[in-house]
Symmetry: C2
Subunit: 114 residues, 2 copies
DNA sequence: AAATATACATAGATTATCTATGTAACTAGA
DNA sequence: TCTAGTTACATAGATAATCTATGTATATTT
């Protein structure tokens, strides 16, 4: 159901958003996206991991192996740079969204990003 | 100000949307996006034309040279396939948007696309 | 006459995307 | 204890997308 370009465009803001709420690891990020989207956004692991690696190479997130419940998992967390990037992503999203809403004649988001 | 991925993801729905309101040509589409976005979305012509060509090759839109006011312009219009695609694009957009809104704890779009 | 705006086109370097595939450990059920 | 399913991460590399830079030409404004 997901459009290709949109899938690609939404991974970054979604990952940054999820990590802004606390550290998390790849597999669980996929579950959370599935859960919060009501099953509409189904990410594959092979699609997510390269994006996580790229975000880490860009210093937007950082990683740490943590053992918990006899499971070693690679936890990611947002860096300061990633936090700033998330704000930009939010602003950009709202900007495009509001433009679409004007064309579609639907209510806009009249909010300030913080 | 625009994020790269978002720029890419929004061209298709925006072009289809603009053409759903009537035939239009490349240069004017750029002006309309600029105008409706309040100057926030600034498209270059070199970026738009290849997208128009691609959408035409995919039969989403069709083109016709029309002379008007001593100007020859290539007008594009939405095909039936493009009209259906626009509906899908709208649904996908709302789906991703609502997921983001749930994370950001902002109001969702509770609308039905038609 | 010059500068600016209108209008379309495309090569091609750069970058992004994601499927397919691989590894391995844990868990639940039969 | 065997099997199937789940959890968890990784990456090669084929495929595709993206957009800047550049080119052409006409019309309009200064």
């Amino acid at each position: 159901m997901m459009t290709k370009g949109l899938m690609a465009a939404s991974t970054k803001p979604l990952i940054l958003t999820i990590l802004s709420r606390g550290k998390n690891y790849g597999y669980d990020i996929i579950q959370e996206v599935k859960s919060v989207s009501g099953g509409e956004l189904l990410w594959s692991d092979g699609m997510l991991y390269p994006v996580l690696h790229k975000l880490e190479s860009e210093k937007m997130i950082s990683s740490e192996w943590i053992e918990k419940d006899d499971r070693k998992r690679k936890y990611y967390k947002l860096t300061e740079k990633g936090r700033k990037e998330l704000i930009k992503e939010k602003e950009a999203w709202i900007s495009v969204h509001n433009t679409l809403m004007r064309f579609w004649e639907l209510p806009e988001m009249k909010i300030s990003i913080k």
